[in-house]
Amino acid sequence: MQTLLGILPDALAYGMVLFTISIGLSIMMGLMRVVNLAHGAFAMIGGYLASFALTSLGVSYPIAILIAVIGTVIVSVPFEFLLYRRIYRRSDELTQILLTIGITFFIVGIANYIFGPTSKPIPLPDLLKGPFDLGLRMIPAHRLFVIGCGVVTAVALWLLIEKTEFGVRLRAAVDNGDMAEALGIRTQIVYSATFALAVGLAAFGGVVGAELLPVEPYYALRYMVTFLVVVSVGGAGSVTGAMAASLLLGLADTTGKYLAPEFGEFFFYVAVIVIVYVFPHGLFGKAH
């Protein structure tokens, strides 16, 4: 029971970090059908920018998040314009995999060329540093913050997709891109906006999740497949699916690491194999 109470908040927090970063990729893959292994690289750029803003510019934590998100979106524009646009919905997986591996290597190399090959601390504000008394037990305030960020992201995305004009266009384009185009929806603009949204969410998740997934030179490579796996387990394009997959895999991974740390990611990937084998299109995915 004590172990369970110890595991749950960590598992929940880890799952929420996975969700916050992966959900952008999920929407992007659902809409543009692009297997993007460079998603973690954009989360890493966010982490690097936030670290730079906090340690060198001395801004406050919320401002650093803002700088990270906006900065990453700006940095990503040439990638979208020059590279991603060519592979939306068209290319086979192999092309997409290789192109986005190339992008990841390039970003890792450049980031470390500019900022140096050391890990990048993202100091927390005092408010999030200490423990927080839940009544039952104390848990680190940062864990609660991360969980809150995940919930807010999920709700905001749900509102965006279900309640706004952009959401209508997005859903139309997901369901039938050619039809949407024929109805006069400018799919290229929807794609670009979705790409920016995905990258912004990646950066946001990269910064707030830095306590659990530390920002370091090989971040983009270390987590290259993690986010892709989450999306695949949940089902590309599904917010509910991404949430379910993140929580499930977060739990599998955290429990495994608590109870049998020497097994590493063994339990995480056992869960992945079982789920994907039974639900090849993901828990909440649709066949294309």
């Binding site: 290597f105 060329y113 194999i273 084998y277």
Partner: protein, 333 residues
């Protein structure tokens, strides 16, 4: 009449034999050049040959069958660990070690193939990743047979055929590796012209159409995965024999991803492309990485982007196509 109008036919048996001989000669000559021109870099060349097996194996499933995989190093690594273990257990004959690697690789290929070729697209890719990561996690955990993060060390193979001892300069190891590569390449080039391999290419082109001419696709792809496993396991065993150690990197994700990059640089669907891709990548890595690992990453990233966008068939196929065009233009003149 109708028969006469068939202008040129697919390869005849005689032409096939000629190709085999040319292939053997090319590998022997290039191998000899490596031996005499770079006597101080034999260790590096041996490493390249070992990796070439992995890339050639990957070509069999990716280039010939269209399977997108990022977990192929598992087949290589398990072969290496198996060969290392039998050696430590007292079976030091290099040929038997190679055989062990082949068997272990085939078995791993079978398991991997059963899982990975069940689906296409994203689930296929993710299952390949998960399989690779699972094997890597197990290799880390089962330190009694893998040495864990320290690696499996102290592998000391006996002399080849009981005569040729492995020397510290890698001369025996290099010659041994070139010969194994030569035999494998010639065998696989034959294999690549077989009806079986031709049908795999057909499956890659259009799986439903292949079913419609009566092919049971899934079992075939699993068999191809076993062949690929044998080749990768052979390379793993060869590397274990030559280096005396097997580390976790030999099953790792980076190894799988690099193999895919090497394949695409050279050209998928062409065994020579796979071989040359491995050599080019390692040479490039050798010289650039020495300067700075991050410069290396920037350059390989750029190179990969350029190749994918502008030479999607790989450098080897691109060069042969250009030469073909040139010849045609000359003939037309």
């Amino acid at each position: 009449m109708a028969t006469l109008s068939v202008t040129s036919a697919p390869q005849s048996a005689a032409a096939g034999l000629r190709n085999d001989l040319i292939a053997a000669a090319v590998i022997a000559v290039v191998g000899a050049i490596g031996y005499f021109v770079f006597p101080d870099d034999l260790a590096f060349l041996i490493r390249v040959i070992g990796l070439a097996f992995l890339v050639i194996s990957l070509d069999l499933v990716t280039g010939y069958c269209g399977v997108a995989t990022l977990g192929h190093a598992a087949l290589f690594g398990v072969g290496a660990y198996a060969a290392g273990n039998v050696c430590l257990a007292g079976v030091t004959d290099p040929i038997l070690m190679l055989l062990t690697g082949v068997i272990a690789g085939t078995a791993t290929g079978l398991m991997s193939g059963l899982l990975v070729t069940r689906f296409r697209g994203l689930p296929q890719l993710v299952l390949s990743i998960a399989f690779g990561q699972l094997v890597a996690a197990l290799a880390n955990k089962l330190s009694s047979i893998t040495g864990g993060s320290d690696g499996l060390a102290g592998i000391a193979p006996g002399p080849v055929f009981g005569v040729f001892n492995f020397d510290m300069f890698g001369r025996t190891g290099y010659i041994f590796s070139v010969i194994v590569l030569l035999v494998t390449m010639v065998t696989l080039l034959r294999f690549s012209r077989s009806p079986f391999a031709l049908m795999c290419r057909a499956i890659k082109d259009d799986t439903l159409r292949a079913r419609m001419i009566g092919v049971a696709v899934y079992p075939r792809l699993v068999v191809m995965y076993c062949v690929a496993g044998a080749v990768a396991g052979l390379g793993g065993a060869l590397t274990a024999i030559n280096t005396g150690v097997v580390g976790l990197d030999s099953v790792g994700f980076e190894r799988s991803a690099e193999a895919l990059i090497m394949l695409i640089l050279g050209g998928a669907g062409n065994l020579w492309g796979a071989l040359i891709g491995a050599i080019l990548f390692e040479l490039f890595h050798h010289y650039v990485s020495a300067a700075s690992p991050f410069h290396w990453m920037i350059l390989i990233g750029l190179l990969l982007i350029v190749v994918v966008l502008f030479f999607p068939k790989g450098l080897v196929n691109e060069v042969t196509r250009r030469i073909g065009d040139l010849r045609q233009r000359r003939a037309a003149r």
